[in-house]
């Protein structure tokens, strides 16, 4: 499970505090959603947890099972079971999607002391998983995310997630830029991965994604803190009344 205690984070180059004491626990098997207005620190939280440069943790801790996340390199966090689905998946011209996937899968297996997958084994698994996400052979061959539509990019993120089998999945605004059908497809992909050993942290602006990926717990984030935690009904409340009332209520 993911455990965050009193996390304070500032930008490395600027004297700007973004997270001001985040406390959050996501137990195994649960799906938690974080909602909140623009600039509340949701994406920063996802980047700090996955180890992106440019942020400085000034106080607090974050762990995934018995791993102290904040002490690890991004690739070590990944091997420990953390996965971040990007809001804007990166295009990597000249590197085939399959090559990238196989490199990532085998790098993680190697880091965990497991045998690397042979080319045949890998292809069998990837074809199977790609099929359920409606990712065709052409998309697998093309360079990573190059020329992909918004929906294709997000499906590709979910395919990576399915191949890497992480324990903790963070979805950073996975619904952004998706039409209704694409969102349903992505949500189905995520739901298929739900299991008692795997947790999800779904970051979103809108309740609509949560119609498809049903959360156990919803957190509202504002100004660098979690200001309210509740059940799925909290998301509906936000959808109906906006953040204004909630923010006023907390003061």
């Amino acid at each position: 499970m993911l455990n965050i205690k009193n996390l304070h984070v500032k930008l490395e180059d600027e004297d700007k505090q973004i997270l001001k004491g985040v406390d959050l626990t996501v137990p195994a098997g649960e799906v938690h959603a974080i909602m909140g207005p623009n600039g509340s620190g949701k994406s920063t939280l996802s980047y700090v947890l996955s180890g992106r440069d440019g942020y400085e943790v000034t106080e607090g801790e974050a762990s995934l099972y018995d791993h102290d996340l904040l002490d690890m390199e991004p690739e070590e966090r990944a091997a420990a079971g953390l996965f971040l689905a990007f809001q804007y998946p990166v295009e990597i011209p000249g590197v085939g999607n399959l090559t990238f996937l196989r490199t990532a899968v085998n790098a993680q297996r190697k880091a965990r002391g497991e045998d690397e997958l042979s080319s045949g084994e890998f292809l069998k698994v990837v074809r199977e998983k790609a099929k359920t996400l409606q990712i065709d052979a052409d998309m697998l061959k093309r360079p990573v995310n190059v020329g992909f539509s918004g929906g294709e990019k997000k499906r590709n993120e979910i395919l990576q997630m399915a191949m890497l089998e992480p324990k903790m999945c963070i979805l950073d605004e996975t619904d952004s830029g998706l039409d209704v059908d694409a969102m349903r497809l992505v949500a189905e992909g995520v739901n298929a991965l739900r299991s008692p050993e795997r947790s999800f942290l779904v970051i979103t602006h809108y309740q609509r994604l949560l119609d498809h990926i049903k959360p156990d717990v919803v957190h509202i984030m504002s100004n660098g803190r979690i200001i309210k935690t509740g059940g799925p009904e909290l998301a509906l409340e936000v959808e109906k009344n906006g953040y204004g009332d909630l923010l006023a209520e907390v003061g």
């Binding site: 440069d53 690739e75 990166v90 990597i92 000249g94 990532a104 990576q160």
Partner: protein, 440 residues
């Protein structure tokens, strides 16, 4: 004549280069030449008139010609492994050891659609079809910019291959260079003529010598197709200058790709004149330079002339530099009057893996036709941090992520190799090489 006059007026300045030239020529054992005798005599006159370049020459602003001007080569150690690149591909193999053709190590000099001889043997025998070409494209390529080391090559070349292509040849001709002496100073001149409608792929691999001067003259006649893929041998320190002079005829295709991995002081000049309508000429390079293994300086200088209508040219140059390596690109597109509907594009990019390295680019367009599409771009930058983070967040270790992003950076240049097998072979070697030194 105008050029001679200019030189004469600069006589006091030219005095020093002249003595450099004298010293350079005295150290050479100049061949007398058979069918090349007239071209060599003409080269001697031209070289005497132009002298060797100095640092003050505009065309040598970014590359110090001293190592090419020195009378003899500085001995350079090398690893003796034979190159295995393209081993799996059916080919006609021509082996040069320290710049001399080695018949025993080579395949027989024949093949369907091919007429092959070596310069040394043919020059001793006398009359030859290459007499029409030897030194001719080189001479034409001296205008408007002087290229003294190419003239020196025509004057002093001791060997090379002469290939006349009369049909579509599917089996590539592979020139393999090998080194034996540590101080070999080698001058090689290849002449290739593709007759109308013919096709040839020329491969060049291996370390040539401690110092090398290689010139290739290629005449690509009507509707012929020429593919050139060169891999400058990895890990061997060397000093090298190379020229490719091409004349591309109507509806013909010329494509040249060079991979350079390390080395010490290299300059490659590509001089391409498109003389027939609807022709295509592409020249590309992928360069990996590591300054820790001695000084790394790699200069690509390209001059493409459009002298016909509806022709396409591409220059794609990518250099990955680290540990104080220098990458240079000077590229020009000249569109002559009447060369309408020209489609010319040039891109040069430097990827700097640290702050000690530098990439210098001088793109030039000179256009005398009004209905053309010509553009150029040049960028210098570090690895994309977002892409690095993306790869690492998937569990790819930092060193391996750098390898993937370097291959990604080079992809456009590698795409210029049309044959999948050849491209894949180069990619595999490149990947292995980068991975094996990822931590350096």
């Amino acid at each position: 004549m105008a050029d001679t006059a200019v030189l004469a007026s600069k006589a006091p300045v030219a005095e020093k280069p002249r003595s450099v030239l004298d010293a350079r020529l005295e150290a050479l054992d100049l061949p007398r030449g058979g069918f090349t005798a007239a071209a060599r005599a003409d080269a001697a006159d031209r070289l005497n008139a132009m002298g060797l370049p100095g640092k003050r020459d505009e065309y040598w602003r970014y590359t110090d010609p001293a190592a090419f001007n020195a009378p003899t080569a500085e001995p350079l150690a090398f690893t003796s492994r034979a190159s295995t690149l393209f081993d799996e591909i059916e080919q006609l193999k021509l082996v040069f050891v320290d710049g001399r053709f080695d018949a025993d190590a080579s395949d027989a000099l024949d093949g369907e659609g091919l007429e092959i001889s070596t310069l040394a043997a043919a020059d001793a025998a006398g009359d030859h079809w290459a007499a029409d070409l030897y030194g001719k494209l080189e001479t034409a390529g001296q205008n408007p910019v002087k290229r003294p080391f190419a003239v020196l090559n025509t004057l002093a070349a001791t060997d090379g291959v002469l290939i006349r292509v009369t049909g579509k040849v599917s089996r590539p001709v592979h020139i393999l260079y090998r080194r034996e002496a540590q101080d070999a100073d080698v001058t090689i001149h290849h002449v290739i003529r593709l007759e109308e409608g013919s096709e040839l792929t020329l491969l060049e691999t291996g370390g040539i010598a401690a110092r090398s001067n290689v010139a290739i003259e290629v005449e690509v006649n009507k509707e012929a197709r020429f593919h050139h893929i060169a891999s400058k041998r990895a890990d061997d320190a060397k000093v090298g200058i190379g020229h490719v002079f091409a004349r591309v005829g109507e509806g013909a295709l010329f494509k040249s790709f060079t991979l350079s991995v390390n080395g010490s002081m290299m300059r490659n000049e590509g001089v391409i004149e498109i003389v027939g309508d609807d022709a295509v000429a592409h020249i590309a390079a992928a360069v990996l330079g590591d300054g820790t293994e001695g000084r790394f300086h790699h200069d690509d200088t390209v001059f493409i002339t459009h002298a016909a209508e509806r022709c396409e040219s591409r220059q794609v140059f990518k250099k990955v530099l680290k540990n104080g390596a220098d990458g240079i690109f000077q590229g020009k597109i000249l569109v002559k009057p009447g060369a309408q509907k020209t489609d010319g594009y040039q891109i040069s990019q430097g990827l700097l893996l640290d702050e000690g390295s530098q990439f210098l680019a001088k793109p030039e367009l000179e256009i005398y036709a009004d209905d053309v599409k010509c553009s150029h771009g040049s960028t210098t930058g570090a690895l994309d941090e977002t892409a690095m983070f993306y790869l690492r967040s998937r569990g790819v270790p930092k060193e391996q992520a750098v390898v993937l992003l370097v291959l990604s950076f080079l992809a456009d240049a590698l795409e210029e190799i049309e044959d999948d097998r050849l491209r894949d072979d180069i990619l595999t070697r490149l990947d292995e090489w980068l991975t094996s030194r990822a931590s350096a």
